[in-house]
Symmetry: C2
Subunit: 137 residues, 2 copies
DNA sequence: CCTGCTTTCTTGAATCAGTCAAGATTGTGT
DNA sequence: ACACAATCTTGACTGATTCAAGAAAGCAGG
């Protein structure tokens, strides 16, 4: 898999890739923790570097909702988006209602050469929804 | 305007609000600079705080594309999105092709109570487009 | 207009994710 | 197995943002 994109196969990279598959939408610290279960002495630097290389190679994708740390996921190549909970910050995948390339055509592209449309849905997850907080006034 | 949302009217807040109107999509440093043309001795802290309060009150909106600093804009309440240049980081507004509430309905909301759909278009602005960089090999 | 209370601002330090750099180590092709 | 080049380790550093304590200013009532 790493060879497929012309990268050297090193222990840290394999572990990072595995960790991203095992923990979708995890932030960097979580990934470092997961990697250290395989290789206890990896440096954070190696993880940061691996993530950058894997992202550049297109094997993982980096997402960073406003106000959050960087997160990574291994689902790449398809067209999917994210829901983010405003309260707990949890992220989940959603496919877009419109189909394959939702909203990819802006009404006015302002002269930009657009290559991607990223959609982020903001709201509250089921755990954080104010079901039992009616009106306190 | 500030009074309209129940906030005290202070010099820094007025200046920050004015600066955000004058510099759409400006990052915090730019805003601090603009504010200091009115009030040379404002502390960065006052600006950060004003921005947070104004954002909470809904008078300005905070946006933060992946890998960028926080940026602010005064266009709120309408449904518009952004194009971001991958090269220079410039941000511009676009209205969505679909109309008023584009993509607001995810195909599967995963149990979330969604209140906003944010669309970010990624690409290259006209100034950064590789028009004169054909193929150098 | 003046007083007093509360919010907001100033000053200065601290935090924390992420980056930079130099030298040691490891992967790969021959 | 060897040599070269890429990658990792260690450790320091950056820079945006936040925290905290005391001073100043806005607002409501007299």
């Amino acid at each position: 898999m790493l060879r497929g994109v012309g990268l050297r196969v090193t222990r840290p990279r394999v572990a990072v890739l595995t960790a991203v598959y095992a923990h979708p939408h995890a932030d960097t610290d979580t990934i470092i923790g997961a990697v250290r279960e395989d290789i206890p002495e990896v440096s954070h630097q190696a993880v940061y570097d691996s993530l950058r290389v894997l992202t550049a190679a297109g094997l993982v994708r980096r997402i960073q909702p406003s106000g959050s740390l960087a997160r990574y996921e291994a689902r790449v190549g398809d067209n999917h988006h994210h829901v983010v909970c405003r309260s707990c910050g949890m992220v989940e995948d959603v496919d877009c209602a419109v189909g394959e390339a939702p909203c990819l055509i802006a009404s006015d592209d302002r002269g930009y050469t657009i290559d991607e449309a990223e959609v982020t849905y903001w709201g509250l997850c089921s755990g954080c929804s104010p079901l039992e907080v009616p009106d306190h006034t």
